[in-house]
Amino acid sequence: MRLRSDLIGLQTIVYREYKRIMRIWMQTLLPPSITMALYFVIFGNLIGKRIGQMNGYDYMQFIAPGLIMMSVITNSYGNVVSSFFGAKFGKHIEEMLVSPLPNSFIIIGHVAGGLMRGLLVGFVVTIIALFFTKLDVQHVWVTLTTVFLTSIVFSLAGFINAVYARNFDDIAIIPTFVLAPLTYLGGVFYSINLLPEFWQAVSKANPIVYMVSAFRYGILGEGLKQDIPISWAYVIIIGFIVLLFTLSLYLMKTGRGIRE
């Protein structure tokens, strides 16, 4: 009986998040689509023609999966951090906190919101990419599971950022100074095999490398010279999900940044 009630609560958060994403589509869906279209035009079309091939693929083909993944990462993160911090700032988070809805469902509901926006933007960016290059998905399940799980990882990361954040600066610092460098250095625009050995080793400490690499493998397939073994990518992504979800639960239970 209680599970049924909790599922209604979860459904409420998910529906509320969906409506929020759609209500402010000019902030949530349009800007990333325009940004990614510019990336395709400038890096893929104009500069990419001069670069030639990367790991045996046209540069445009090579960066398309990376750009899709980059948009999924930033939008999953951005959705949860802004929605949850907005609720904290406006105090309407209290509506959920005083209700009997379990903490785990509050987290899952917000992660679902991040997932929705991440995948929606990813879908739109994929459509844009098809105007510039051909994408024959080689491993559908690898592609779908990688993008899905990666979106969860960064939704959870956004949730934790929102829990700790005390002002709007705090929700901008992590995306600017941590997320953006990790994404740009995560093999979106280049293969880490191009780097000297030392920097290759350093790059392998960046979890985004595994996510981008696995997603690129899913789309481009066996012809791609693998930067990273696919199994390692899954281990790391799932490991991060478990770690970040546990931390989120702990923060909600102790009330860090939420309860006095």
Binding site: S5, G9, R16, G90, K91, V98, L101
Partner: protein, 368 residues
Amino acid sequence: MASDDLTKILISMAQQSDGPGMILMTHSVVVSSAHALLESPFSIVKPRIGPGKANNPMKALSISGLQKTYANGVQALMGIDLEVEEGDFFALLGPNGAGKTTVIGIVTSLVNKTAGQVKVFEYDIDEDLDGAKACIGVVPQEINFNQFEKVSNVVLNQAGYYGIPRTLARERTEKYLRQLQLWDKRQELSRNLSGGMKRRLMIARALVHEPRLLILDEPTAGVDIEIRRSMWDFIKRINAQGTTIILTTHYLEEAESLCRNVAIIDEGKIVVNDQMNRVLRELQFETFIFNLCEEIKQVPVLDGFVVRQLDEQSIEIEIGPEQNLNQIFEKLSALGLTACSMRNKTNRLEELFMKLVDSKNNHDGAEQ
């Protein structure tokens, strides 16, 4: 508890209320009133259970040894004991910073307690927090709904968080928005509502899961008199239907006219806890307003009574414990005045506070 301490609390509360202006009062009456309060059974620090509570009915709220120390070291609650019976209309009063909102925060799980036990309808918040939460509806002091949501969605979402199926949630949303005169505004963005409407929206939201205990934390702050009265009529009906109400307010006449039991909290301790009528009776003085049949040019002098002129045909007179109404009628007749009608001035609690303010101010002035 020291006389000065109690006076300080009452003064603080009176200064926060929108009470009447300066009231003339002899120092002896003030002191006797304060002493009556201090010596009365309800003024002891340890809360006592009134006679009506002997049958041991279900407790809507049971708090024992509740303590809260904030991270900055401020000790907001210092071991509070409090019980509210099911069906009660209970006033929790106290000056700003006394600890009222901290108590409410702990009961509603928005504040973590440091020590003590809280039970809501026998659900211990340490053992079954979700069970306790399901019983409570809360109307907080500050506006805390999403101002970018439509009015109906604010209520519908809250119903969802409490696990109410969508169809039933829609029915109840309509029911409570209609009852609180917000149905016509259901499609408006909630930020566009007036202050009074926002307060009513929070009441509708708090009621949508039909809680057994409704906590109202200063729900009428900044609301005009007409809306305030309609809100209280509504809340009284909810209470009559069996919902337990806990109210904090700075409008003391509201507490006086609405609540059956009262607790006063100050500096993290309960200093008064008893039935409202016993508290008021212990004040030992009352004020009556007399409408005279004749116009008066100056305040009539009634030996032994404090008289104030309200307008050309109205006066108010205070009656102490040793005085009675017959004495007043006799004295008025002797002056050739006739009382056409008479009524009790209801905000006695507020009166007491204001008198103590005057007393304190006079006392301070004399010392200087």
